[in-house]
Symmetry: C2
Subunit: 244 residues, 2 copies
């Protein structure tokens, strides 16, 4: 299935910056691109739901996608936000199970998709892809372990600071006066990322606003002083005593 019926366009602009396909020639990327199908999803719609049989591995090309995990009791955890160039759905396809998360487009989005067999074939033909995938998954594990530790040992304020910084690094857009998180992000979303409640997040943001660290609006967050948040996230004592 061609990526888009009448479209013979070059894959390079889309795939050359995708880390899953690093180390391939333009011709190879073109072939990979031909094997993909493009899927567009409206804001608020889902690429897949949690528990669904995993068939397709996606690379986002436009928009923003959040990966939510729902607990048996119905509480949500926001595991990560996908930006263009990143892989999602891969974990489930590679382990041959059901999707462990839901993928919701938080803005109008498009992604290239390969079904499991196609991707297996491509990896066989181009072992570089498998190597890249291994590296990507390994990095994900490291990040998850890091965040697990954070959740287990740090207080809420610091966890929120880390989450905001991570979002800024991933999806931040430099604007006058700071870095803007470039998609609608509610207090509740931040709470679901950090294992707290929207009330606590609201209070924390208010405090930060008073300290001039951020500017928080409705589903909007502008980071005025990334450094200030780093200080919070890492417990660099602003004072001079008590190294604890």
């Amino acid at each position: 299935m061609a990526a888009s019926e009448s479209n013979q366009s070059n894959a390079s602009p889309l795939l050359e910056s995708v880390s899953l396909f690093q180390g391939l020639t333009p011709a190879e990327r073109q072939e990979i691109y031909q094997a993909a199908h493009l899927r567009a999803v409206e804001k608020g719609e889902l690429f897949f739901v949690q528990g669904e049989e995993a068939h397709t591995l996606y690379v986002l090309t436009r928009g923003r996608v959040r990966l939510n995990q729902l607990s048996p009791e119905g509480e949500q955890v926001l595991l990560r936000v996908i930006v263009p160039g990143q892989l999602f759905g891969g974990v489930a396809v590679l382990s041959g199970t059901t999707y462990p998360v839901a993928a919701e487009a938080v803005a109008a989005s498009e992604a290239l998709g390969w079904d499991g067999e196609t991707m297996a074939r491509l990896m066989e033909r181009y072992p570089t892809i498998a190597r890249n995938a291994l590296r990507l998954l390994a990095e994900r594990i490291q990040e998850l372990q890091e965040r697990y530790r954070e959740l287990a040992t740090e207080r809420v304020e610091r966890r929120v600071a880390s989450a905001v910084l991570r979002l800024a690094r991933q999806t931040g857009r430099k604007v006058e006066g700071g870095v803007l998180i470039d998609f609608p992000l509610s207090r509740e979303d931040l709470a679901a990322m950090t294992g707290t409640t929207l009330y606590t997040v609201s209070r924390i943001l208010k405090r930060w606003e008073k300290q001039g660290l951020v500017e928080a609006g409705r589903q909007r967050l502008l980071i005025r002083s990334p450094h200030g948040l780093v200080v919070l996230a890492e417990d660099l004592p602003p004072a001079m005593d008590a190294p604890r």
Copy 2:
């Protein structure tokens, strides 16, 4: 380097049940085995420390190994316990960074090790290994995400119940009267797995003991009623009212 200088012994007993090497012929496993070096480590010693340049990927053949992550403030989190047949150190080797955790032998242990280049060569020759590795890492990610959600949304008692059940599944030994966790496990260890304190764990275990769910000794835990713990871990209400 031969696995053990004078040892031409068959790899099968050691490697055939290792999921990283599933789908290979005995001859291939033998070759892989030849490329390994065996490392023995005393109880309490480390295979590697956190932050060390990652060179070797291990498969445990005897003993028990715990993977600890140390926070910048010096608090420990126990990420997982490795039992024979399982891979460890792989994440760091595959992503080409430093070990993100320390690996401590909690009993006298032995592991087969392959350095990064050797493993890369083997994977190139036997793509099946790479496929297996992808599957293993993908499963790890799923488990970590699950535990992350748990830590973010569940209360302490339930988290401890889940951790105990996980340990029982992994390292449990059936004995008269229940399932015994088969290595020394302190209250502090359980606390470090679940993001709480040893005091809280102590109280929880006492309560469980009174309910006849477990029998807790010094670094020793016997699960009398796995089902009872499952009920706790999953919030199946034992009473009939207040669905909350």
